[in-house]
Symmetry: C2
DNA sequence: TTGATGCATTCCGATATAGGCATATGATGG
DNA sequence: CCATCATATGCCTATATCGGAATGCATCAA
């Protein structure tokens, strides 16, 4: 079979939030629903660009759209962030431990160096 | 200027953990340091593949390497996950709120449908 | 020194974006 | 029906990966 490329990023929340501008959009949406143009302007990006990012966010379920006449109001649906929070949270004790670990690591380095 | 492509994924933790296999590697490393081959075998991936993922993780600072004779032991350095945890945590109250929001959303949908 | 072992790299192919720009769509107001 | 506003898409380019396979490099054992 042919070589495979990177997994589709548009298919999961982890990938969706890997893009800084999409994180910005999500952050803005905490303040409430907003139309595309609004978001685009506030974030200094073109409208098509905003629409595309919103599409990705919609596809992974992090935002939802509501038709409001001529506009489409995008709103936050943060439920998809929860699994991420939990996954990352699984490392909490390790980043607290890290200093010690780093210390022993440095120790090992010195050790190794002296043995040479 | 020419069109720009996606931001380099190898340059930040958000992107590093967007790749499932890299998440798997990090999860495994919670149990302690491990040589490349070990990780590769346990995760059922080729050695070069493991090395490449480890390189990305190293570049964003999520793992560190220690030379141990013929082997290179990779260890977790979870400190880089903390900012992510905090960013995502900033949405916590929203995913708790979500049910209500979703309800009103569904209401709106019904409403809209009936009006057609 | 000669292998063998453990990894990192390089080269190549297929593909997935991100962005820009132009354009198609849809709904609204006259 | 027509012009306009608000968005979504399509097309095209430059890149960035991810993967595999082969290869380069140390280091270790005999």
């Amino acid at each position: 079979m042919a070589a495979m490329a990177r997994a589709a990023t548009t298919s999961d929340a982890f990938n969706a939030i890997a893009e800084p501008q999409r994180r910005d959009i999500l952050a803005l949406l905490r303040a409430g629903e907003r139309p595309v143009t609004d978001l685009a302007q506030e974030l200094g990006m073109s409208q098509p660009r905003a629409s595309k990012h919103l599409r990705v966010l919609r596809e992974v379920g992090l935002v939802r759209v509501r038709e409001a006449g001529k506009q489409r109001l995008y709103g936050l649906d943060a439920r998809g962030l929860r699994p991420i929070h939990e996954w990352v949270g699984g490392f909490e004790r390790f980043w607290n431990e890290s200093f010690d670990r780093l210390d022993t690591y440095v120790q090992d380095l010195k050790q190794t160096r002296q043995e040479e």
